[in-house]
């Protein structure tokens, strides 16, 4: 397979068009489908008990997102059906089966479940990015390669490479904008004090104290960390700089990878000190739109190749 242009190596004109009007092979979008789908299905499986327990809730409903159209909790049967349909659609999304119908259904199911779960007094932010990615990939022709639909001949062969490139570029842009917003939020709500004061140390102490008072086990690193009060302003400044620097990821190459490493370390630090994990970026799936991810399969190690292919090579 010939090397295909990346988001950053398109022959498109410079400037904004370099980002939004790119070319990509169908395999790259297909791999993004497989990665996001596999992540979301595993996430749903692990979080299934949490979603199912929403059926026990009676009070405190305050709809957010698409759930804001509801006046109160939905019947238990409807919630169970939504979870079941979303899970099955997720398997179809990942495998690329009946993609035209089931991929949007999966994305909308995740949107509905995330909205519903966030409608009980605590709006979490773990699911925002991957739900946005599912919406983009789910509405794109991501099953034209490496899918059951492609095997069955249910694919259009006449698409332009931009048909596969722009959803990837959009997904990358969503990552960039999301992190810029998180950086701006700290300056907007916390101001410069967020960086130079004790705020970050107090946030770490707060997360540990909350877990302790609720009977959980806080991170042992929190106790060590709060003693080093001098270090937190540097960590706070680094966090804001890395978040605001997200657009450099669109440059590509080593700059992109350096940023991905930096933001991953930020999330790893949050997990280590606060026991708050953002699984989508921590598994690196969130950053897949920045890379030629089809290489994961095209350039897979020899032990993953069929024996006959190895002997031919």
């Amino acid at each position: 397979m010939t090397a295909a242009p990346t988001v950053h190596e398109s022959a498109a004109p410079p400037g904004l068009w370099r980002v939004v009007d790119v070319q990509a092979p169908p395999e790259r979008l297909a791999m993004l489908r497989i990665l996001t789908g596999a992540f979301a299905v595993v996430y749903l499986t692990i979080r299934l008990p949490a979603f199912a327990r929403l059926a026990d809730r009676e009070f405190g409903f305050d709809g957010v997102g698409v759930a804001s159209a509801l006046t109160g909790p939905v019947p238990d049967g409807m919630l169970v059906a939504l979870i079941g349909v979303t899970f099955v659609a997720g398997l179809a999304y990942t495998a690329g089966w009946q993609y035209r119908w089931l991929a949007p259904a999966f994305a909308l199911g995740c949107l509905a479940l995330g909205s519903y779960r966030g409608s009980w007094g605590q709006l979490l932010h773990f699911e925002n990015l991957f739900v946005l990615h599912l919406l983009v990939v789910g509405l794109a022709p991501a099953a034209d390669a490496w899918s059951l639909d492609a095997r069955a001949g249910r694919r259009r062969a006449d698409r332009e490479p931009t048909s596969y490139g722009w959803p990837i570029a959009l997904a990358a842009l969503i990552v960039v904008i999301t992190y810029v917003i998180t950086g701006l939020a700290k300056l907007r709500y916390g101001g410069f004090t967020w960086i130079v004061g004790d705020t970050l140390r107090n946030h770490v102490a707060y997360a540990a104290a909350r877990l302790d008072l609720l009977g959980g086990d806080p991170s042992p690193l929190a106790r060590l960390g709060v003693r080093a009060a001098w270090a937190w302003p540097f960590a706070a400044a680094a966090a804001v700089v890395v978040e605001l620097a997200a657009p450099v990821a669109l440059i590509g190459g080593r700059v992109r990878t350096a940023w991905v490493c930096a933001i991953w370390m930020l999330h790893a630090g949050i997990l280590a000190f606060m026991f708050i994990g953002f699984p989508y970026p921590l598994t690196l799936v969130a950053f897949a739109p920045f890379y030629r991810v089809e290489r994961l399969w095209v350039e897979r190690p020899g032990w993953l190749r069929p024996a006959r292919a190895q002997s031919v090579e």
Binding site: T182, A208, L214
Partner: protein, 137 residues
């Protein structure tokens, strides 16, 4: 399409309205002092000494953000007594319940969080919103 998506992402920031999946990402973005108020539930013995429960007993979940958020909503919406009864029901069949525990209290406590994490005395204030007896299973 792309311009519309960018506008949608930026809209919550302009409107300062957090939602899902479009968000202002306000978590941990405000300044925070070292004195913080928490809502929690505790087991208390006959002398009034409190001991911690666990996430599953308090909120029937393993996610502290959800447990804390729901308990906070219950206190805010004047439903602390209902939530207290639910917690007492779960606590009654919890193996980890101290033998001398007689009741559950839903409380607001104010702590010096840096002292709390350091293992020092940290309680600054305590308000009981609801108290309910624990019945043996």
């Amino acid at each position: 399409m792309t311009a519309g998506a960018v506008a949608a992402l930026v809209a919550p920031v302009v409107l300062d309205r957090d939602s899902f999946p479009l968000s202002t990402y306000p978590m941990y973005s405000r300044t925070r002092g070292d004195a913080v108020t928490f809502v929690t539930a505790q087991a208390v013995d006959a002398d009034g000494s409190a001991s911690a429960l666990n996430l599953r007993v308090i909120g029937n979940s393993d996610d502290p953000l959800i447990v804390a958020g729901e308990l906070r909503s219950a206190v805010r919406d004047d439903r602390a007594d209902i939530r207290c009864a639910e917690i007492a029901d779960r606590a009654g069949s919890w193996d980890g319940l101290p033998a001398d525990a007689v009741a559950i209290e839903v409380v607001t406590e104010r702590h010096d969080v840096v002292a709390q994490v350091s293992g020092a005395a940290s309680l600054l204030d305590r308000t009981v919103h609801a108290r309910c007896e624990i019945e043996a299973p």
